[in-house]
């Protein structure tokens, strides 16, 4: 049976779609945005994370063990008094994951909510994603995506779900590639499709100081959205200085390539010009 890899399930997400929602994070993303807040969601594989900051270095976890779950990790995850070494990423069959997500369904539906699928990049595990969606319906489903996916996958997703939350990180291909590692042509093509579709969507722009918070980028983004039929609004998410904290967990270096201390520019008027509802989260 096909399995997907998930790194977290959050209950009571209140800023990711209507009503009370459960938020499920798919593990793995083809983009490597230099500001990424969820570095543990980048790799498609299960991985060991250790919060070294609160470690007392008793080295209990370095002693050899026979647990199946610890094989190949070099650490034992079953002895730490603070539960610091942990495996991030768990494989599920779609039906099994759906069962977990549907627990408390009445709370979700009672509030006009549902499930939001986020990541990582949900569209990077497409077969599993569509399998999961079929198990979750008729519950309200939203997907949070970078838009980086083959168009057949993207279009099928748009047709099968109730709400899209799509990132537009930069309109300039060069800059996009520099900071995310990938071209934006596929993303913009998918965006164009989304703008013409019947599925309601929100656009989210992470505002990264000195990278995309320029007047021209905002103007170009707004221009791309001007004729969208079902755009419900644009959400601007100013960069938070909390991102670096998680990098040490996955043994990655936080090297954002921009000045994290710099104040972000927030241009909301440009969107208003096109009658696009804008909010800052």
């Amino acid at each position: 049976m096909l399995k997907g890899t998930i790194f977290t399930i959050e209950e009571f997400a209140v800023h990711d779609g209507p009503g009370i929602r459960k938020l499920v994070f798919f593990k793995g993303c083809h983009l490597h945005c230099s500001w990424c807040h969820n570095p543990e969601g980048l790799s498609f594989k299960k991985e060991l994370i250790v919060c070294e900051a609160t470690c007392s270095h008793c080295d209990k976890c370095r002693e050899a063990c026979n647990h199946d779950d610890c094989k190949g990790l070099g650490r034992c995850i079953k002895v730490c008094s603070r539960n610091l070494p942990r495996i991030v990423g768990k494989e599920y069959e779609a039906s099994e994951l759906a069962k977990i997500l549907l627990k408390g369904e009445e709370v979700l539906t009672g509030s006009g909510g549902g499930i939001t699928i986020s990541g990582g990049e949900p569209l990077a595990q497409p077969d599993f994603l569509f399998d999961l969606i079929s198990h979750l319906k008729p519950l309200h489903i939203a997907i949070e995506t970078s838009g980086y996916a083959r168009k057949e996958i993207f279009q099928r997703m748009v047709s099968e779900i109730d709400l899209v939350l799509m990132d537009v990180k930069h309109t300039d291909p060069e800059i996009h590639k520099k900071f995310t590692g990938v071209d934006n042509d596929q993303i913009l093509e998918n965006l164009q499709y989304l703008c013409l579709s019947d599925t309601p969507f929100h656009i989210r722009i992470p505002l990264i100081p000195g990278v995309n918070d320029t007047l021209s980028n905002m103007e170009q983004t707004a221009f791309l959205l001007k004729d969208a039929k079902n755009l419900k609004g644009v959400e601007l998410l100013p960069y938070h200085q909390t991102a670096p904290a998680k990098y040490v967990l996955v043994y990655k270096k936080f090297d954002p390539g921009f000045d994290t201390e710099k104040k972000v520019n927030i241009y909301t008027e440009i969107f208003k010009k096109y009658n696009i509802k804008t909010s800052v989260l």
């Binding site: 399930i9 209950e11 009370i20 002895v79 008094s81 539960n83 009445e106 709370v107 009672g110 909010s279």
Partner: protein
């Protein structure tokens, strides 16, 4: 909030009103108590003379701009018995807390309506009746009540004279009407209440709850709004000043911690016929509380399955401000539960909250809702020690726990025999039937039930779940190993401990494995209290609240089978264990709605901590309302929510001077974080780390 109220609030936060407090020397207060002893006065005489002493020592204070007067200047209420006398009394009697009548809800309504003159007449008539029968004790009691009315009126007179002298003719005129005559206006009714409430505290009574204020005060407000005496702005202004008055003297009120003063106000709910009675005053009270952002009065909102989401939104507004209230109470669970415990349907529908969450009946209830507590964790631990090795299956282990609870009750109950409370003649005036019967309220009322808290439910359930899974089902741990590990506080038992702490089933994750055990434990506890009665003919009410026992009980228990190490706290009330990985609030409310809380008629709120970012905008606030509603619709009994931010709490511990007004919900009441003992502060920080 208008300018006048803003200024008053500012002055209050700067504690300017405390400048009027008198320095009364301890020896003077002690001298009074010694005199009582020397003169061999009866307890009724002493109670009477104490109130006379306090009220005659009061110095009237009318602060600039103030419209509702009465500020305490006597900072200490004398004892009526010397220490030696208390020792003797305690040798012969059970004495609850301070030995004074507390934590009940007076019938303010009737007295405010008819006035003290009328009440005096009633008492005098009763004196005639009881004199004719030669009932000496009864007459002594009634005369003490008359004296208390006289004492209050004398102080009111002195306030009136002071008003005249200081050019406050408005106050002089106000005090010509109330409290002697019944209130005619909302303003008069508020001033009347303030005087009665003031006198209760002066009488030595404490946890003097407010009750269904939006019900008994509505007629005055409506009449004033109809006649044009008030409009909605001027009414709100009066109400806000009235709310301020609850915070004037509250630092003088007895309680376990600052803030634990029992000034609970109940809004909404149903009337005697079962009709919804949330009204304009209920809404106005929520607004006043929202604008003032003070810890008193503490708001409780009664809800039921028909309560609209919009009304929950009004509550969420308060939660958002970090006030720790409203506490929600579910009529659909509470009312049938009270009826099954023998409460009359009309009284059940009229229930209010005692100091924290316990249900009491206005005017008719002399329940002692926090008379004692059983520690579930201690009981489970005892069963482990004594019976685990012999038990062949989990059911027989549950039987052992059941026996443990029974045993604990058998030890506890006889300690409550021969209850003694100081007489409370003035408070008796405000309790139904005391004057006709010439019987002090300290001897009881219609309802004389005792409440037994059950503390550490979740830790006990988690311990039982671990035992069931690992010892009886998987058989991966032996009874001997478990006993050894607990005895040694999991010293060097890294793997077993890790498994119990992080892998074992826990209550609060919406998994039936653990939740079914919670259902069972509640049923067992409730069934064991079912047939018990107390010496006053009352029953015992089981509850899932903890009061302060969540910290106290820890001292008597070692480590537990859920991986909790010795000395680590229990959770407050009916809430998931601390320091465990939970999935989120949806699972929590689902788990905690599974036990049949109609059987837990001493109450006990689920306490949730939500991160303050959840309240960022109206849409997300609405989701909090939906969460509360979902819990109530599923059969949850009570809920209180802290909107908190861990970093802020830690900052407040470091720099208390910058966080004087930071409010948190402690166990059943809201207090100022920086005024709490550190152990309570730390507990809240620990709670926050997990639930957000």
């Amino acid at each position: 909030m208008n300018e006048r109220i803003k200024l008053m609030l500012e002055d209050m936060l700067q504690k300017k009103h405390r400048q009027y407090r008198q320095e009364i020397y301890i020896h003077e207060i002690g001298g009074l108590t010694d005199t009582f002893k020397q003169q061999k006065l009866s307890d009724v005489q002493r109670a009477k003379k104490r109130l006379s002493w306090v009220l005659s020592h009061e110095i009237p204070v009318i602060q600039p701009g103030e419209k509702i007067v009465f500020t305490r200047t006597v900072s200490k209420i004398p004892e009526i018995f010397t220490e030696d006398e208390w020792v003797n009394i305690k040798n012969d009697h059970y004495v609850h807390e301070m030995g004074r009548v507390c934590n009940i809800n007076a019938n303010y309504d009737y007295t405010i309506e008819v006035g003290l003159e009328q009440r005096r007449k009633e008492v005098l008539e009763s004196i005639v009746v009881h004199s004719a029968r030669g009932n000496i004790k009864e007459v002594e009691f009634l005369e003490a009540v008359v004296q208390s009315i006289d004492d209050i009126e004398q102080l009111v007179d002195r306030y009136a004279q002071k008003a005249l002298k200081t050019g406050r003719e408005d106050i002089f005129l106000l005090l010509q009407n109330v409290p002697c005559r019944g209130a005619k206006t909302f303003y008069e009714a508020l001033q009347f209440f303030r005087i009665l409430h003031f006198a209760l505290w002066a009488n030595g009574n404490y946890h003097n709850t407010i009750g269904r204020f939006d019900q008994y005060m509505l007629k005055y407000l409506e009449s004033d709004l109809n006649s044009g005496i008030l409009n909605s702005d001027s009414a709100l202004e009066l109400l806000e000043e009235f709310f301020l008055s609850f915070n004037k003297d509250s630092d003088l009120y007895p309680g376990m911690q600052q803030g634990d003063n029992g000034q609970s106000m109940v809004l909404g709910g149903v009337n005697e016929n079962g009709d919804d009675v949330f009204n304009i005053l209920s809404e106005m009270c929520l607004k006043a509380s929202l604008e003032l952002k003070l810890i008193d009065p503490k708001i409780n909102l009664r809800v039921n399955k028909n309560t609209s989401i919009g009304r929950y939104d009004l509550g969420t507004e308060l939660t958002k401000e970090g006030l720790g209230f409203p506490q929600y109470s579910n009529d659909d669970i509470v009312i049938p539960g009270l009826i099954s415990k023998g409460y009359d349907i009309k009284d059940a529908r009229n229930y209010v909250m005692a100091a924290c969450w316990e249900f009491i009946i206005p005017g008719n209830g002399m329940d002692i809702p926090n008379i004692g507590a059983v520690s579930f964790v201690k009981i489970v631990n005892k069963s482990i020690e004594k019976d685990l090795k012999q038990c062949k299956d989990f059911d027989s282990f549950i039987e052992s726990v059941k026996g443990g609870i029974k045993n604990e009750l058998n030890i506890l109950l006889p300690t409550f025999l021969n209850l003694y409370m100081e007489p409370a003649p003035f408070l008796s005036l405000l309790m139904n039937g005391c004057i006709e019967k010439a019987r002090d309220i300290s001897f009881g009322s219609i309802y004389n039930n005792y409440g037994i808290h059950g503390t550490g439910i979740s830790t006990a359930v988690d311990s039982l779940a671990a035992i069931k899974k690992y010892i009886f089902e998987e058989k991966s741990v032996t009874a001997e190993e478990m006993i050894f590990a607990i005895e040694n506080n999991f010293e060097d038992q890294y793997e077993l401990w890790h498994k119990l702490k992080y892998d074992a089933p826990k209550m609060g994750k919406d998994e039936d494995f653990a939740d079914d055990i919670a259902v069972k434990l509640v049923d067992v506890f409730a069934a064991l209290t079912d047939d018990l009665t107390n010496e006053r003919g009352g029953c015992f009410r089981p509850g899932g609240g903890s009061a302060m026992y969540y910290l106290w009980h820890v001292k008597d228990i070692g480590a537990s089978a859920d991986g909790r190490k010795k000395g680590e706290p229990l959770s407050a009330n009916f809430s998931p264990s601390l320091d465990i990985k939970l999935d989120g609030p949806i699972s929590i409310i689902k788990s905690f709605s599974k036990p049949d809380m109609r059987k837990m008629m001493n109450g006990g709120p689920l306490t949730l901590e939500l991160h303050d970012s959840v309240f960022r905008n109206p849409e997300s606030q609405r989701k909090v309302s939906h969460l509360v509603k979902a819990y109530m619709d599923m059969g949850g009994q009570q809920l209180q929510i802290n909107a908190v931010n861990r970093e802020k709490l830690i900052e407040a511990q470091k720099h208390p001077e910058n966080y004087k007004n930071l409010i948190v919900r402690v166990w059943g009441w809201s207090g100022y974080f920086v005024e709490l003992d550190q152990i309570y502060q730390d507990h809240i920080i620990q709670r926050v780390e997990l639930n957000v």
